[in-house]
């Protein structure tokens, strides 16, 4: 009961501290909204198509028409017709960055199987990545077109050679072969035999596979801020020591462990509550700014266990900080450096795999990493409770280690 009395007193004090409430609940939500807004802007940039000025010197050709049609077919490019003089002036004045020149007689040459060259001209304003992207797309489309034309041409020749055979032997006419080949090419384009699926590394081929940056961002910030409450636990103990109330409590018929449990309980409750509020607020607020609502996965029990273990781990880390720091300013300094750096290398701001092998390995020594892995496995990769048990076990191990070392080193007087 005394533990609850100490915990209730700390919660009463927290409720009177508006600044602290702001820091605990509104700041993380603000971070998430800002992160999501930045991400949304990034997505818009990524979705922008590159406008490619085209000087078509073969304006009525069938092949040049097919080429332009393919280039505009959802490949991230949009062609825009220019005449040659306009394009040259535009490049000179840097009003356009590049131009694609389709030579005169392009269709005839392709049909005849004669070599021909598309020219991509770019000025100093064009970025390397832009030129490279356009070059790859145009080269790919041109290669497809050449291959298709050459194959259809070859098959037509073979059909023509069979033209002298008796009609009952001619199963496939030249027209039928040509139509069949063109149909196959169309099908190959729309439903390729070999497809390329681009995925984030670490993704698992079970359940939900879409990587959701908003879900990732929420997990990162929720866990990051939950661990920041460790500093609040340590500071609260130092405040009590500084004000003399800790001494007064030790003079009361209150066990030392009851007292420490009372100091840990409110921060545990706050950390859990903070994570719940962050996720709930994100579910409501993110769709309002045009972002997807975060995924919560398929295991509410798993989510609850992550929140409880993160809160326990953070609170026991607070006791460890209070035990190893000698002054309140040391608590501030050590906590700030450790908790923010741990958040960073643990992948709270940037996914761990993006950090590179070295930092990714270092990240494994902080609890943030395991908490994020568990959360992402549950919400992004679609695993169930059984799938996150190893991560939960590591988090429990961190909690036990922080508690044992913290309690052994804790100075009551």
């Amino acid at each position: 009961m005394n533990t609850l009395a100490v915990a209730w007193k700390d919660l009463q004090m927290l409720l009177k501290d508006r600044g602290q409430i702001l820091l605990l609940f509104l700041v993380p939500i603000g971070f998430i909204l800002a992160f999501s807004a930045v991400f949304a802007a990034g997505q818009q940039i990524e979705e922008q198509v590159i406008v490619v000025p085209v000087v078509n010197l073969d304006p009525h050709g069938e092949m040049s028409g097919l080429l332009l049609q393919d280039l505009n077919d959802d490949r991230g490019l949009r062609t825009q017709d220019y005449d040659q003089a306009q394009a040259e002036a535009g490049l000179k004045d840097e009003k356009i960055k590049l131009a694609l020149i389709i030579p005169a007689g392009f269709s005839a040459d392709v049909r005849a199987g004669a070599p021909t060259t598309l020219r991509l001209i770019y000025g100093p304003a064009a970025s390397d990545s832009e030129v490279q992207a356009v070059r790859l797309v145009v080269a790919g489309v041109a290669a497809d077109l050449s291959l298709q034309t050459q194959l259809v041409g070859g098959l037509s020749q073979m059909a023509a050679m069979m033209g002298d055979a008796p009609p009952d032997v001619q199963v496939f006419t030249s027209e039928r072969i040509k139509v069949q080949a063109e149909t196959q090419f169309e099908r190959a384009k729309s439903t390729p035999l070999v497809a390329l699926s681009a995925r984030w590394p670490d993704q698992i081929t079970q359940g939900r596979e879409d990587f959701s940056p908003s879900t990732f961002g929420i997990a990162g910030f929720a866990i990051m801020f939950a661990f920041l409450t460790a500093q609040a636990t340590a500071t609260s103990i130092f405040d009590e020591k500084k004000e003399g109330t800790f001494r007064r409590l030790l003079a009361a018929p209150l066990g030392k462990w009851e007292l420490l449990a009372g100091k840990m309980l409110p921060n545990f409750v706050i950390a859990v509550l903070q994570m719940v509020v962050i996720v709930a607020a994100s579910l409501v607020l993110l769709p309002l700014i045009g972002q997807d609502a975060p995924s919560l996965g398929n295991s509410p029990l798993g989510l609850m266990l992550i929140a409880i273990l993160v809160a326990l781990c953070s609170t026991s880390l607070g006791i460890l900080l209070a035990a190893i720091c000698r002054t309140e300013s040391q608590v501030g300094g050590v906590s700030s450096v450790f908790l923010w750096v741990a958040g960073m290398v643990g992948g709270a701001f940037i996914p761990a795999f993006v950090l590179g092998d070295f930092l990714n390995t270092i990240g494994k020594v902080v609890p943030h990493y395991w908490a994020l892995q568990a959360y992402n496995n549950l919400t992004i990769r679609g695993l169930g409770l059984a799938g996150i048990l190893p991560e939960l076990a590591v988090l429990a191990g961190f909690t036990a280690a922080f508690s044992v070392v913290g309690l052994l080193r804790f100075k009551f007087d």
Partner: protein
């Protein structure tokens, strides 16, 4: 002395190489106001900390109400109240919230808790401002709440550690009156201070503590009586005759004379008569006086007499 409620035997406490308390033994009678008087750093707070189970003695034994403190710590703690030297309160909470919390810690609940808190707030004269945050109170008001927080569970022994430090005269008087009222109601009070007037006014017996030891323990009146009519500290030039000490001890009303480095300490039975006689004698012998200090008989001069130091050094 009536039955002792608290017995401390040969308490010692060391911090590293430094021995802060060097074998303190005392007995406090039930219903007594017992003072621990000494300068800052004398070992009073360390002693109180051991008596209230905040610090474990390096050696020695403490019995409270017949119970060994070490063996029955929580049972004994429940019978004691501590008002620490610091303002040990939660300043963002109101006086009522503070008192409710400290009451709960001592096991009070529900209606009884609310009644005790109201009683305490009335006693310290803060019932009207009970719901204001403590941070809005004056130093004296905070001191009173600090005391009330130690009283809620009606302890049998109340430890007051320098309760008047930094308090205005009005609040100081209010604190004295509270202590006297509590003692009249039967509470045993152990009071540490370095203000001799407080010890003299409040305490039935006083232990004078210096450098971790009790150097005198008696009623204030007996301690003052031990000083006789007062002490004259007379500084004389080095050329003063060797037999000056002997001649001075023959002066009427002089109890004893000791000489050290040109300073004569003259203990008297009647201060004025002894002083006049001593000055006449030095005049006759043509001894040059370099300094003169008169110690009126009070606890301050008892301390100075015993230690050669002032209480507030």
């Amino acid at each position: 002395m009536s039955e002792p409620i608290l017995i401390a035997q040969d308490l010692r406490k060391s911090f590293g190489d430094r021995e802060a308390v060097k074998g303190i033994s005392l007995q406090v009678a039930r219903g007594e106001v017992f003072g621990l008087l000494g300068p800052n750093g004398a070992g009073k707070t360390t002693t109180i900390s051991m008596l209230t189970a905040l610090l474990e003695p390096s050696s020695g034994k403490i019995m409270v109400n017949g119970l060994d403190l070490k063996a029955h710590t929580n049972q004994v703690k429940a019978q004691m109240g501590l008002v620490p030297q610091e303002m040990a309160l939660y300043t963002t909470l109101s006086a009522r919230q503070n008192l409710m919390f400290f009451g709960r810690i001592y096991g009070l609940r529900g209606k009884e808790l609310r009644q005790r808190v109201d009683e305490a707030l009335r006693m310290i004269g803060l019932i009207e401002r009970a719901d204001d945050p403590v941070s809005a109170y004056s130093g004296g008001m905070k001191r009173r709440v600090n005391i009330a927080a130690g009283l809620l569970h009606k302890p049998q022994i109340l430890f007051l550690d320098e309760p008047t430090v930094g308090v205005d005269p009005q609040s100081r008087n209010a604190i004295f009156e509270n202590v006297e009222a509590l003692n009249r109601a039967g509470m045993t009070v152990i009071y540490t201070t370095h203000y001799m007037e407080e010890a003299q006014r409040l305490c039935h017996r006083v232990a004078i503590v210096d450098e971790g030891r009790i150097i005198a323990l008696d009623t204030p009146a007996a301690l003052i009586r031990s000083l006789g009519g007062g002490v004259v500290m007379l500084g004389v030039a080095d050329a003063a005759p060797e037999n000056l000490t002997e001649r001075l001890s023959q002066v009427p009303s002089v109890k004893s004379v000791t000489r050290s480095d040109g300073l004569l300490k003259i203990e008297t039975q009647r201060l004025q008569e002894a002083l006049m006689g001593a000055l006449d004698l030095t005049n006759q012998l043509d001894v040059r006086i370099t300094s003169l200090e008169i110690l009126e008989p009070n606890l301050e001069s008892v301390f100075l007499h015993l230690t050669g130091k002032k209480l507030r050094q």
